[in-house]
């Protein structure tokens, strides 16, 4: 098969594009594929990526807000103090610049996250032991309390007592830690 772009070299790359359900096949040699930016091995180059989709999503939100914006005259220069990324830049690249961006753009995030994560807006998973601080212990207590209820329901009182003691221990730890950080 000959490359359909230059009609000289043999076609070694074969693409199938599906746009709105319509299938087109493209056969190119490597040089022409490079020029067209459709290199097979590294599809993220030049190809339509998730980036574009996210940027589109964020943009849509921005355009929805725009008409109401004039009253908040500083909204268009909402900028992260630490990494200097502006909201406009964030919308364009679809990436946060640093951890502080989450703080700076906080009020805009829930609708974006809701769309990306099937309606969810808050983390339910793992908490880092050190950085998560008291949150980790609080979550542990929550899990133990649930376990306690289950054990009581199953009338396993001996085990339940053990769990109760664990909860007390953690709560005591939480109190002293919380107290210590207050004095700092």
């Amino acid at each position: 098969m000959i490359c359909q772009e230059c009609n000289q070299r043999p076609a070694t790359l074969h693409f199938t594009k599906i746009v709105n359900g319509e299938k087109t096949e493209i056969h190119l040699c490597e040089q022409c594929a490079h020029e067209k930016g459709e290199m097979f091995m590294f599809p993220h180059q030049g190809a339509f990526s998730i980036n574009n989709l996210i940027a589109g999503l964020l943009n849509m939100d921005a355009s929805l807000k725009e008409p109401k914006a004039p009253s908040f005259h500083n909204e268009h220069i909402l900028q992260c103090e630490r990494c200097k990324m502006t909201y406009a830049q964030f919308v364009k690249v679809g990436r946060f610049g640093c951890a502080s961006c989450y703080e700076t753009f906080r009020s805009y995030l829930p609708p974006i996250f809701r769309k990306l994560h099937g309606g969810h807006v808050a983390h339910e998973g793992k908490i880092p032991k050190r950085v998560g601080g008291t949150l980790y212990v609080r979550k542990q207590i929550g899990q133990l309390k649930q376990m306690l209820q289950e054990l009581i329901a199953k009338e396993q009182f001996e085990k339940a007592a053990e769990v109760r003691d664990q909860i007390r221990e953690l709560e005591a730890k939480l109190n002293t830690e919380g107290g210590a950080s207050l004095h700092e």
């Binding site: 490597e30 998730i50 996210i54 690249v93 990436r95 946060f96 610049g97 969810h120 998973g125």
Partner: protein, 354 residues
């Protein structure tokens, strides 16, 4: 250890183990995206920051030892040859993005290649654990342990409400991507895959080809992973994916059974024709090779072919990618030369088991 091994062996040592359901699930992978509090994310960080981050991890992994995986080897992207980087991509140890675009990117690899940590890709680090067969829970366990160990020494960017903060809003929360590589020739042959893919998408899961976003499902190999990272625990994400994969395994087994029952001789013919092509062709493109390898692997699973090991599909799929072919040839190859090389390499490998 000798770091050249990373570039020479096509099969990572972990791939040689036969995992559960390995007739259908080739491998299971867990990836965790993590960032550090005090540095800007890779999208905007300065070169100095990038270099510091690599140094930090280089130091950590040279001073301390994690678990029983042995020492990790640090490879810096700007010190590697293009072909070597490509080889790492083809083995799924690093992403194309890290290999191509991240000047200050690096990766830490465990000896057996079951764990790799990409540094300065889209996030400061991406912890990845790979297991043979269907072992998502085991992979999550290892990834979590490695994550906990790193967290003892590094301050992660974490928010009470949003969880682990990532560069891209699609990864926020758990930063977890769980995925499995599945060989589904039965579902493709019985033309069920076209109906299954949209159904899976509706469950918040994504189906892709072998080499990620936008790539074609070469050799009937599909990658299935979670999309949602926020609002579900790591365990729930893995459970949800596991449930769907279980169903797919059932469906695939049923499709294979039905094929054997209704068109045994046609199927056997197809398998042996493909085996014939692989053992005799002098020029073969990657697409044809992948299709034939898939047929041969199916033939092994169904007991038509007994002299070839199961790992042949994964091994030759990787080995016949452009990076590996050029690595073996010792230099750049033009597309036509690659097709000739690919054919002779496949013949040689299969000849071993004749």
């Amino acid at each position: 250890m000798n770091e050249h091994l990373f570039f020479q062996r096509a099969l990572s040592p972990w791939m040689n183990e036969e995992g559960p359901d390995s007739d259908i699930v080739l491998s299971s992978r867990i990836r965790l995206a993590r960032n550090m509090k005090q540095y800007s994310f890779p999208t905007v960080f300065t070169n100095e920051e990038a270099i510091q981050i690599v140094q930090l991890f280089e130091h950590l992994f040279s001073q301390k030892r994690f678990g029983n995986l042995g020492p990790f080897v640090l490879l810096k992207m700007n010190e590697l040859q293009t072909i070597d980087k490509r080889v790492l991509v083809e083995k799924h140890l690093i992403s194309p993005h890290l290999a191509e675009d991240c000047t200050f990117g690096a990766c830490l690899l465990s000896e057996q290649e079951e764990a790799s940590i990409m540094i300065n890709e889209e996030d400061h680090i991406r912890i990845q654990c790979l297991f043979a067969g269907f072992q998502l829970r085991e992979a999550l366990k290892l990834a979590n342990a490695l994550d906990d160990w790193i967290e003892q020494h590094i301050d992660y960017a974490f928010d009470e409400k949003y969880g682990y903060l990532t560069s891209c809003p699609t990864n926020v929360g758990t930063g977890l991507r769980a995925s499995v590589m599945m060989h589904l020739p039965g579902l493709v042959l019985t033309q069920q895959m076209n109906q299954i893919i949209p159904a899976i998408n509706q469950l918040g899961l994504v189906v892709r080809g072998t080499y990620g976003e936008g790539s074609e499902a070469l050799g009937n190999i599909f990658q299935i992973s979670n999309q949602v990272t926020l609002g579900k625990s790591e365990e729930d994400i893995v459970e949800d994916l596991t449930g769907v994969v279980r169903q797919l395994i059932e469906q695939e087994r049923m499709a294979r059974e039905a094929l054997v029952k209704t068109s045994n001789i046609q199927l056997e013919d197809r398998v042996y024709r493909s085996y014939g092509v692989l053992t005799n062709s002098r020029i073969i493109g990657s697409k044809e090779a992948a299709q034939c390898l898939s047929d041969v692997r199916l033939g092994i699973d169904l007991g038509y072919i007994t002299n070839v090991p199961k790992t042949i599909l994964t091994e030759l799929m990787i080995l016949t990618q452009p990076g590996f072919l050029q690595k073996y040839a010792g230099g750049a190859l033009r597309p036509q030369e690659r097709d000739i090389r690919r054919a002779s390499l496949i013949r040689e490998r299969l000849y071993q088991w004749k």
